[in-house]
């Protein structure tokens, strides 16, 4: 089996567009995982009065640097900066703003256009757009990945049980899915998010509740086919338990179809989150989110950098995912095996 996977990987690599897309997507995701080190109001490292400070890990009172307050130091305050520089130095991240940092010295009302301090401008509350894009990309992909993982796990299990056992579990499962998938998801989400204050996990749970069905059909079909294979009967004749037959003998057949779908499910999950955010029923106020940035762009047509930057990031991300998905689909296509 190793060899066939090797062949598939080679075929994926031979598809330049898909391979480059995967590479770019991987690098982007890896980089944004460390957004705190790239875009942050706090310095990465401070040397002051013979001591090292790491504000990313720990809060230090202003008094530690010779200031007057016991409150945590505001490293963007020129007064604090001067205090630190007088007795040492500090290393600032590439972008000296976090996603929630409000830049008060804009010199003009927010949203402000791109400038030397805010490379692609600020949003309507004076927050750095680039920082918000970085954090927003990360949370979107993380949300998408988690949702894909959970919904695939549930979908594959449900499909496997229905397909393998057939009969009554299958009929009940199928009818349930038909009813469940015809519920007006968006309205339910709106109602639910007005009852509870949605956070990342709430949103994940709610979207999962209505999003786990995408793989059921494919997996069920593969299992309906696979359970009649002679080697499955052979395994039964050996006395193997159902669980073992499902996992060992039938599931691998369904995996090709499932994996082919995954990049597209990931894209769909991200779209769900973005559209909820756009409508204002998504992540809590202040969270970095691409959907919210889009909404701001719509509300502030005079500030095209808002809508444009969100649009470019989203379309880049979806294009990459579709290219990857195409590559995976072609690489796993059994008809291309010889």
């Amino acid at each position: 089996m190793k060899r066939i996977n090797q062949e598939r990987w080679n075929r994926f690599k031979a598809n330049r567009r898909a391979y480059v897309s995967l590479y770019v997507f991987g690098v982007l995701f890896f980089v944004t995982l460390f957004s705190e080190l790239i875009a942050n109001e706090k310095p990465l490292l401070i040397y002051h009065d013979g001591e090292f400070f790491c504000p990313l890990v720990k809060d230090y009172a202003e008094m530690r640097f010779g200031g007057e307050f016991e409150t945590p130091a505001d490293y963007r305050d020129p007064y604090v900066m001067d205090l630190i520089k007088a007795k040492g130095w500090m290393i600032r991240p590439l972008i000296p703003f976090s996603y929630h940092t409000i830049n008060y010295n804009l010199g003009r009302p927010a949203p402000s256009p791109p400038s030397r301090t805010n490379w692609i401008g600020t949003d309507d509350r004076g927050r750095d757009v680039l920082a918000r894009l970085l954090y927003g990309f990360r949370i979107s992909v993380l949300f998408g990945l988690t949702l894909t993982l959970f919904s695939s796990a549930i979908g594959i299990t449900a499909g496997a049980v229905q397909g393998y056992y057939g009969g009554i579990p299958d009929i009940l499962g199928q009818r349930f899915i038909e009813i469940w998938s015809s519920l007006p998801t968006l309205f339910l989400l709106i109602i639910l998010s007005s009852v509870v204050q949605p956070n990342f996990w709430w949103l994940l749970g709610i979207t999962l509740l209505f999003g786990w069905m995408s793989l059921v059909g494919v997996v069920r079909a593969e299992f309906l086919r696979g359970r009649n294979f002679e080697y499955v009967t052979a395994a039964k004749a050996l006395g193997l338990s159902d669980m073992r037959i499902i996992f060992r003998h039938v599931l691998p057949n369904a995996m090709v179809a499932s994996i082919t779908f995954m990049p597209f499910i990931l894209g769909g999950s991200i779209t769900t989150l973005t559209s909820l955010d756009f409508l204002g029923f998504g992540l809590p106020v202040g969270s970095p989110s691409l959907g919210e940035l889009l909404a701001q762009g719509k509300a502030n047509m005079q500030a095209p950098w808002l809508g444009l930057s969100a649009f470019i990031v989203l379309s880049l991300m979806f294009s990459l995912l579709v290219f990857i998905g195409e590559g995976v689909r072609d690489a796993l296509d059994p008809r291309k095996v010889y």
């Binding site: 009967t233 052979a234 004749a237 010889y338």
Partner: protein, 530 residues
Amino acid sequence: MKDTLLTIENLSVSFQMGQRTTKAVENVSLYLEKGETLGIVGESGSGKTVTAMSILRLLPGSAVYPSGAIYFNGKDCLGMEDEDIRKIRGNRISVVFQQPMTSLNPLHRVGKQIRETLFLHQTISRSEADQKALAWLDRVGLKNPATKLSAFPHQLSGGERQRVMIAMALINEPDLLIADEPTTALDVTVQAQILDLIQDLQRELGMAMLFITHDLGIVKKIADRVAVMKEGEIVETNVPDLIFKAPAHPYTRHLIDSEPKGGPDLADDGDKTLLEVSGLKVWFPIQKGILRRTVGHVKAVDGISFTLKKGHTLGIVGESGSGKTTAGFAILKLNNSTGKILLGENSLNDMAGTQIRELRKRMQIIFQDPLGSLNPRMSVAQIIGEGLSIHAPGLNPEEEDERIMAVMEKVGLDPAVRDRYPNEFSGGQHQRIAIARALILKPEFMVLDEPTSSLDRSVQFQVLELLKSLQKGFHLTYIFISHDLKVVRSLCHDIIVMKDGVVVESGPSEKIFSRPEQEYTRKLIATAFH
């Protein structure tokens, strides 16, 4: 040479797949005179079908012809324009394929498909075409040809479908008929009828025939000359009498010697009874209406009974649809049945699923399709060792590996190949792997469900020899399910003959073969040993 119809000179065919080139046929030369029948025999993969399909250029686009020429009535088939070869296909040269189900379009009525071939090659009115089709359906021996004309392919039996195919092939009265294993997918009794039909029609129309088969018995009966193919080359061409009496090439001799013969090794009548089956029934309900009320049953197995002694082999014979495989599955509790199945002192139909799972190591099964019964994603060692994890838990990996290697040696496989995957082996080796998988659990009895019918004769012979020697060595008990009476005679001590779910006749093997009591059994035997 009097009147040569078809000449093939130094034909080579290769298949180009990506960077790889596979040679299928090498330097084949043959000729066919008008009205003559040439039989091409060979095992699977010997290139006999590829040679025949080259004549009409029916091979896929990946086929290339490095050398050779094919002349039909003096015209070069390989160099011809596509338009011209189409005029020959189905008109001057017709083909009958192996699979009667898939060679007919399931969406169109039989009449329409027959008319289509007529319209393609003749200018003829619809009513004339209908009349001609009707006449031909009658000519190929279909009962009620008028109703068959408006039937869909799935409403016909395998034999009937093959008759329709023959009618379609011959309706334009071709000069040459290519018959590619036309009887292989059919039951033995139907096989004989179809062969007779083809021979009669050939004589009437005076056409030549290229008959492709793996079955030497058929060739002997039907061919004027025989060409033996091996690995893409013709090793010998001669008249059948000489081929069978004095084969010139060692491979031909090998093919003839691999016909199963002899009887089973003697078994001791004093052995204890291992398996007792009485009144075994497998009924599938027929449900109708919205409420799925059961309105009747398909009686796949309807009350069969037998006893089987340890170390003996019981043959279950019958045509397809007679319920023999269903019965075999029922005995192993692989489907639901009623009736009594006693394995030793255990009554299988009164036991819970988990208890039966325990018992599975005592009873094993070998399937018809050797590759299909092996999971393509598992290595040979994983496949063979899988049963151990359930029935001999607590073995450490080394002990497990030792047992796997030991059992591989017993079935004649090189233990060094145990980390390879099934697709790297041949059909005979697949069946050996399947036998090893069953044998490693040290079973008492095995159900062999047509274990040799998808194998070439010479490989069949080896597998049968292996099964015999294992039976001797381990005092194994077999239930051997087959439609091939030649194989059954060489392996079984007792036989039951099944038809439509019931036992028609049963008894010791030599009695059934020498003095069959039932007409049905007589017919089966007569067609198997033509």
